[in-house]
Symmetry: C2
Subunit: 352 residues, 2 copies
Amino acid sequence: MAVTLATVAQRAGVSPATVSRVLNGDYPVAAETRKRVEKAVRELDYVVNAHARALLHSTSGLVGAILNDVSDPFFALVLRGIQVAAGDLGRLVVTAHSDGDPDRELAGIDLLRRQRADAVIVVGSGPEDTEYRRQLAAQARGLRAQDSRLVLCGRPKPARDAPASVVTFDDVATGRALVEHLVGLGHRRIAYLGGPPGRTTSTDRRRGVVEGLERAGLKVDERLLADGDGTREAGHARVGELLDSGLDFTAIIGSNDQLAIGALAALRDVGWSVPEDMSVAGIGDLPGAADLVPSLTTVHLSLEEAGRQAVSLAFAPQGPARTVILPHRLIVRDSTGRARKRTSTRPRRGSS
Amino acid sequence: MAVTLATVAQRAGVSPATVSRVLNGDYPVAAETRKRVEKAVRELDYVVNAHARALLHSTSGLVGAILNDVSDPFFALVLRGIQVAAGDLGRLVVTAHSDGDPDRELAGIDLLRRQRADAVIVVGSGPEDTEYRRQLAAQARGLRAQDSRLVLCGRPKPARDAPASVVTFDDVATGRALVEHLVGLGHRRIAYLGGPPGRTTSTDRRRGVVEGLERAGLKVDERLLADGDGTREAGHARVGELLDSGLDFTAIIGSNDQLAIGALAALRDVGWSVPEDMSVAGIGDLPGAADLVPSLTTVHLSLEEAGRQAVSLAFAPQGPARTVILPHRLIVRDSTGRARKRTSTRPRRGSS
DNA sequence: CTGAAAGCGCTTACAG
DNA sequence: CTGAAAGCGCTTACAG
């Protein structure tokens, strides 16, 4: 049925071993023989079976990536970096998506272990749940035992001793940087739109914001720290609520660009101007942030670079697990400006 | 070294066959034995080798996807659809990216054939080059011979008789729909920003625009049809040039949303208002199109649905190759409006 | 209910 | 330069 090495060998009138040698081209074969074999390969449209190969060597040439959601630009950019770097190494990328569900993430790693992936890269923030972290650490050890490895991209290790490399950003510092920027512009009451609670990134960015406020000697008003699922819609809704609440604030930090975009939309709804009536900032600097009106002040994260680094850590020659913290960069654009002088001049909801 | 079925069997004091049966759970095994085996599996952290399995059955459980660029939202959305549908079928997705290079695309298919992917989905517009189409058709036949199949998502078949299924949009109709919309608003001179020449989608959308103009009895001014690589930057640059050229036009159709975004930016640069001074529309309705200011009139394409359909075509029970044309939908937002009455009132470049 | 044996499609020492 | 044979890690008739 299927064309195998044996089929080719028969057609070319040689042994399977010889065909294999021609194909791999790493062994002396008579020019004449080679030609016959190549002809047979062409005529039969023979394509080597990667599984048979993978069985011999214990490597598959596959690198696995687990993502929340490929259509989210954050993950898409990291994935691109992974693809480029993996491509350069002649490896294919196998992706599984978890939708942020810890169990699906773990199940994804398992599937990838079955495929004997040369490395598994788990992208994005992780659940802080203890049991989950225990299991992830176990998967890290399992991969190691298979001569593969786990690389975490965008989150810290689940346990100090987990054999996993990490490439991530200093999420605490990104939150702090935004607060410092806004405080420098005279803002004293800053609202914060958090991401899904119980996830490393959400916790860290929020901590950064709180630290920033404290360092500036400002008191933290919990009522201005709004949680949500991190989507544009959540940002839109939370800002609507904050506006309705009558609380006083002059700036909004979205813990990601989507939230900031939602905030901009909510402000547009009520006719407030940004940055005149309210400053808005995000984190991520995803494509399009500069094309918003007003263009978005945000913290740039080199996501594609993170993906590339993850692959390079994955295939680094031996050595213990490493941790790389990638730099971030505050990008000041038009959505943040000096704080309003007097709150009494603030426009009222629906004033437009 | 590595933990195999044999290791588990030995530990549990049974034969490999029994372990296999416990693992697959499709065969009677004594409860007592089962328990012992499961214990051994757990203790050894045994993970079955998918390659050994793939060698037995001739299926791998992998679906392959070839994309220009995962970080482009168009492709990211299709990929998400593919992942969701493949996940529902218990299959993993292997991705390769081509950056639009025909040779890399073909090479990607080859890698996927080696992996014995159950199906290969090639996403996005295709080169119109004859030689390329011949080779793609050959790959389609090769996949078919391997009991796999080729599905094209977003482009037509490379040849009438190529054994490939197709899920795509009516690109000609999308271009035409936009022209009709604009003509209905009184526009008579419409500029068009094309995508990369020599690609199916570019050609079709452009044809749609030209057809639309002709049907409306308008004459086609080639000078208003600008080609480019389809990026935001190209849109920005082309519109700048068109503005400088002094040609008269009141609306711009970007053959994708990125081009339209670039157009909006270029108009902002010179202080023109949209839609008062110029109408702008795109194709795609990518996330964020509604958050632009002004929000973008565009043609909605159900990209995620296209990905899902591609998988469903790939695993449809037998049957000849099929072609599915997904519906598109004109979404009128704020970036298009009635044509200016008198061209003489048009603001001049740099008037702002 | 359990095991021995063959075989999936390759590669690689080992001989010649 | 070429081939016969063993083996990678599984599954599945075939016996029992």
